[in-house]
């Protein structure tokens, strides 16, 4: 590895080091606050390293990593999400019975896994990244180990993720048998020489799609999502909904693009079916859901269905739209889960919609923030969610994918119903609830601030998206 490669890989090295630093800090018995602040600084350092590295790109660490503008965008988005999740984690875990310190090790390891996914160009790195992510998630989901539903969620995730990993490996093996390579670019080359329609290759991609579909919670592999979202501690839910999905989506995009899977109609058909099923099932499941965490789980199933519509054409415009979509989606979900974190009591997470009744009259700012996030999820103009959905529609319409586009429009209407239902609950008549004691004014303040900053960002994305889109385009050209 030469100096250039080292420097390009530095953000990822730093991410790995972050876990080690946290272990050391725990060994020296430093407090939660110190760990929290150190973690935040480390993430900032990763961001700085990413910016530094952006001048050197593209760099390939042959054969397993490909660090380019695409990877940079996804890693940057991931790390930003983790920074916010970390912020939420402090007020959340400080109040819980469990020792919060080891949590950060797992969080950073999971982030590393997701980040590795975004740069991997080889089955080995793909699998390592995915497992890093999954293994951290098993523990993270069940972190509050005295709580039944957390443990249950952890086990469910463990079993199902293990099955999906098995399929992934199986699929990889099949493709390896067919092409004799595990590196994306070489596979693509081999496929061009052979006609690429062999049963082995087809079945292999099918198996891999299952694993990816499971991680992204696409229908029909979505069943775990609601249980896990509900059972996991809220910051972890936020992590699953954003960082973990971003990483998996990144590797899917890269694999898809490098191999040129858009030339294989049967793969496209599979994704089309997944997309349509996710949009319909996700939105319908959320329709009468009374728990906000489960509702957001269903909503994110639907949102990844929308996202697949942009992904189906497999062209550059689709990638650009996908990045923009993920950005606005992540901000929105982080806001929503941030609000849930803030409102959660010591005993249980505030998921039940009844607990949100009349929130506006008690905490107008929090309710307004949540309202904006939900409006963005519903795709109301002037929010990032609207433009993101619009771009997806435009990409789909340009490629004349009329069927998924129509389903998108119709299911969005269904979606509007349950988002508005939540919003109307926020403005309903207030029920008296015991006032929660605020433990750490500083962290509450920063959490509030971050929520408001994200809301401003969301509206900015919805009104002046040009700067962001240009930046995304510029980065995507580095390859």
């Amino acid at each position: 590895m030469n100096g250039l490669q080292f420097e390009a890989l530095l953000p990822y090295t730093l991410l790995a080091a972050a876990s080690l630093v946290v272990i050391l800090l725990i060994a020296f018995r430093l407090s939660h606050t110190v760990i929290q602040i150190t973690g935040f600084i480390l993430m900032c350092a990763v961001m700085v390293a990413l910016l530094q590295a952006s001048a050197l790109l593209p760099v390939a660490i042959y054969p397993i990593f490909q660090i380019d503008g695409f990877a940079l965008l996804f890693t940057g988005l991931l790390v930003l999400c983790v920074m916010v999740v970390g912020l939420f984690s402090f007020i959340y875990f400080e109040e819980r019975e469990e020792n919060p310190k080891e949590y950060y090790i797992l969080l950073f390891l999971g982030t590393l896994g997701a980040a590795v996914l975004s740069i991997s160009s080889h089955f080995i790195s793909l699998f390592i990244g995915l497992e890093l992510l999954s293994v951290s998630l098993y523990a993270l989901i069940a972190y509050l180990r005295n709580r039944n539903n957390a443990v249950e969620a952890g086990i469910k995730y463990l079993v199902l993720a293990a099955i999906s990993s098995a399929f992934l490996l199986f699929g990889m093996a099949m493709i390896y048998m067919e092409t004799g390579s595990m590196e994306f670019a070489t596979i693509a080359k081999k496929l061009q020489t052979s006609n690429g329609h062999s049963i082995l290759f087809i079945t292999g991609t099918g198996m891999m799609v299952v694993a990816i579909g499971f991680k992204l919670a696409l229908a029909p592999f979505h069943l775990w999502a609601a249980d896990v979202y509900e059972g996991a501690p809220t910051p972890v839910t936020a992590f699953i909904a954003t960082a973990s999905k971003i990483g998996v989506f990144a590797v899917l995009l890269r694999f898809f693009q490098t191999i040129g899977l858009s030339n294989y109609p049967m793969v496209i058909t599979v994704f089309l079916v997944l997309a349509v099923a996710s949009m319909i099932i996700g939105n319908l499941l959320a329709l009468r859901q009374q728990n906000l965490k489960r509702l957001l789980a269903y909503s994110s199933i639907a949102h990844f269905g929308y996202l697949l519509v942009a992904f189906l054409p497999g062209n550059a415009a689709g990638v650009q739209v996908a990045v923009f979509y993920l950005l606005s989606y992540s901000i929105t979900l982080l806001i929503a889960f941030g609000v849930i974190t803030l409102l959660s009591s010591r005993e249980q997470d505030t998921g039940d919609l009844a607990l949100f009744r009349g929130l506006f009259w008690k905490k107008p700012v929090t309710a307004a923030v949540l309202t904006l996030a939900l409006l963005s999820l519903a795709g109301i103009p002037l929010t990032g969610g609207f433009l993101a959905k619009f771009f997806v529609l435009a990409t789909g319409a340009q490629q004349q994918l009329w069927f998924p586009v129509t389903v998108l429009v119709i299911t969005s209407v269904i979606g509007l119903y349950y988002y508005l239902r939540v919003i109307s609950t926020l403005f309903g008549e207030a029920v008296p609830t015991p006032v929660k004691k605020t433990l750490h004014p500083f962290f509450y303040l920063t959490t509030y601030t971050s929520l408001i900053v994200m809301v401003v960002l969301l509206c900015w994305l919805g009104t002046f998206p040009n700067d962001v889109i240009e930046y995304i385009n510029r980065q995507l050209l580095i390859r």
Binding site: I163, T269, V270
Partner: protein, 628 residues
């Protein structure tokens, strides 16, 4: 160049302050802000108006671009203001008469609970109206146009507790909306044809463009005319104005007499270039004006509600303006607007005093004898009524109406029939003005007179009374005195009136017009002077009674529309009570809910089932791929 934006900005500021903080201010502060902002606008207008007249700007207009409102491809719309002779005149009337009415309102509305809301709405109205007449492009004009419509709605329904007032407000809003929609379509067509909505741009390009392709050259002015008809309460959209009298009297004076209802006149005058290209549109304008002035005049003759008399008279007088516009007598129409604003505002304000003094009595036949009780009011009312009746040589109304009558025959588009109708209208106007005056101020008092008045009430009345008499002297008929200050100034903007080749001598027509007026006054006197009182005997006949009620209901237009539009619509709603189309939507909703139940059943929390679902998914995918 002066800061034009200040003129509409001051009332806008007044509106914002009163709207946001009105509840917290004392009545004096509210009055100060509400009236002060309009008075300040009026002062600026006067100062700049004098400057405009002394040293006219190059091109005859001051323009000011504030900022770009929006830009879509080639359409760029700015907040651009323009002050030329035509808009200056309108701005002067709006701010000056507006200021007087605001001063009057300070005292008139003093006891009202919603003092701040009243002034906020009035200020917003003044701002919108100023935008309408100062706009340099039709989009901004349309903003002002809709703004005045909104304020009119708010102020007609100002006393919203009474359902009838809300009904009147709704009626005004709906009916003017018909015109507004037509106008919007006209604007779209204009943009499609000319690619611009800037007023000077349209007036410049229209002649060449429509010379090449005349496809829309008639339709566009007719659509704009429809907009004007709605706002200006002309036939067939005139039915809202009499009901609009449900608002407070100052509102009737400012909005439904002096300014807003003349927006249609302004629009047509402003777009004269388009109308000149279409003889058909001009003729339609003239005919509509003529019929309206006659029909409304007849209705005014039999009304018993003092404000409804004035309302019908307003419709009728605006009919004169449309007639003048239609025959091509542009400056005559604007001149009538100018004098009408003074005397009609005066009459409404005076009527407000009468109504207040008589404890909210609107029926003129229950009034009477006010000449002795309220002499000052009597003299102001007398000058207003004289001006409305166009008493020759000493009132402003004479000078403006005489000009219209003269041009109705002699101008390019005029003919003897239009003149005859206008003449009949003049006779009727004189007749009902006399009737109004005699019944209210002569005879014995039938209702005890309360105390009402004060300096703030009478100052505007006296000012307006003076102007109703003298404001006509700036424009004399050519054959009497060569003094035409008004039309000289307006000819920078509006084309001069072209006369027909063989027209009758002007003296003759003037003589006939004056005779008609005097005859009308005599007829009014003959019928209604209390001692003779012939009308009361005459009224008893049943056939006359039916005819009278026909006129009283405004030629039954309301009933006609009810039968033609409202009842069929209500019938449709009745047979479609359980909306058929709603079934589709509730069906979708029910379907979604049952699908939701179905899918929710799959979320049973059992891991075995989840794994089975994953396996089924895999089988499905692999089969699908292999099949393809």
């Amino acid at each position: 160049m002066p800061l034009l934006a200040l003129i509409p900005a001051l009332p806008l500021t007044g509106f914002l302050v009163l709207f946001l903080g009105g509840r917290r201010f004392s009545r004096n502060v509210i009055a100060g802000i509400g009236a002060g902002s309009v008075i300040a606008s009026a002062v600026f207008t006067l100062l700049w108006g004098i400057r405009f007249l002394q040293s006219p700007p190059a091109g005859g207009a001051w323009t000011q671009s504030l900022w770009q409102w929006f830009r879509v491809e080639s359409l760029s719309v700015g907040i651009d203001l323009r002050l030329d002779a035509l808009s200056l005149l309108f701005v002067f009337i709006i701010t000056f008469v507006g200021a007087l009415i605001h001063i009057y309102s300070v005292a008139f509305m003093r006891q009202d609970r919603d003092y701040a809301r009243f002034f906020a709405s009035m200020n917003l109205f003044v701002c919108s109206m100023l935008l309408l007449v100062m706009a340099d492009n039709l989009v901004l004009l349309y903003l002002g146009w809709e703004g005045v419509g909104l304020c009119s709605y708010l102020l007609i329904g100002f006393w919203y507790e009474k359902p009838a007032n809300c009904y009147a407000a709704n009626k005004a809003f709906y009916i003017t909306r018909i015109g507004d929609t037509a106008m919007a379509i006209g604007l779209f067509l204009l943009f499609k044809e000319l690619g611009t909505l800037s007023i000077p741009g349209i007036l410049n390009q229209a002649p060449q463009h429509f010379a090449r392709s005349a496809s829309y050259s008639t339709l566009i002015p007719l659509l704009l005319l429809a907009g004007g008809i709605g706002k200006s309460a002309q036939l067939p959209l005139q039915t809202w104005l009499p009901d609009a009298m449900a608002g407070p009297s100052p509102v009737s004076a400012l909005i439904h007499a002096a300014t807003m209802v003349t927006a249609g006149v302004y629009l047509i005058a402003r777009m004269h270039g388009l109308f000149l290209l279409s003889p058909m549109a001009m003729s339609v304008t003239a005919v509509i004006g003529a019929i309206t002035l006659f029909i409304a005049g007849c209705s005014a003759l039999v009304q018993t509600d003092i404000k409804r008399i004035l309302a019908y008279s307003t419709i009728s007088q605006i009919g004169y303006m449309f007639l003048a516009l239609g025959v091509g007598a542009w400056s005559a129409a604007i001149f009538h607007f100018f004098t009408h604003a003074f005397f009609k505002a005066l009459l409404f304000l005076a009527a407000g005093v009468v109504i207040e003094a008589l404890h909210h009595e609107h029926n003129i036949f229950k009034m009477g004898g006010l000449r002795q009780k309220m002499p000052l009011l009597f003299y102001t009312f007398l000058s207003g009524a004289a001006s409305l009746a166009a008493l020759p040589l000493i009132t402003a109304g004479f000078f403006s109406k005489d000009q219209i009558l003269w041009y109705a025959w002699s101008a390019g588009n005029g003919n003897i029939l239009l003149w005859a109708i206008a003449l009949a209208g003049a006779f009727i106007t004189a007749c009902y003005s006399t009737r109004l005056l005699l019944v209210v101020f002569w005879g014995e008092a039938k209702t005890p007179v309360g105390k009402f008045g004060g300096r703030l009430i009478y100052l505007p009345l006296i000012t307006l009374a003076a102007l109703s008499l003298i404001s006509g002297f700036i424009e004399w008929p050519h054959n009497i005195l060569h003094l035409t200050l008004f039309s000289d100034e307006l000819q920078q903007v509006l084309p001069a009136t072209i006369l027909q080749e063989n027209h009758p001598p002007e003296f003759l027509l003037q003589g006939i017009a004056a005779t008609a007026t005097i005859a009308g006054i005599y007829m009014g006197y003959h019928w209604y002077y209390p001692i003779t009182g012939r009308i009361y005997r005459w009224q008893a006949g049943t056939r006359m009674l039916a005819f009278r009620s026909f006129l009283l209901d405004g030629w039954k237009f309301d009933q006609l529309y009810r039968t033609l539009f409202i009842q069929p619509f209500l019938y449709l709603t009745r047979i479609n009570k359980n909306d058929v189309f709603d079934r589709v939507y509730s069906g979708i909703a029910r379907g979604s809910v049952s699908l939701n139940r179905l899918f929710s059943a799959s979320q049973n929390g059992s891991l075995r089932w989840y794994i089975a679902a994953v396996l089924i998914g895999i089988l499905f995918i692999v089969t699908l791929q292999l099949l393809l």
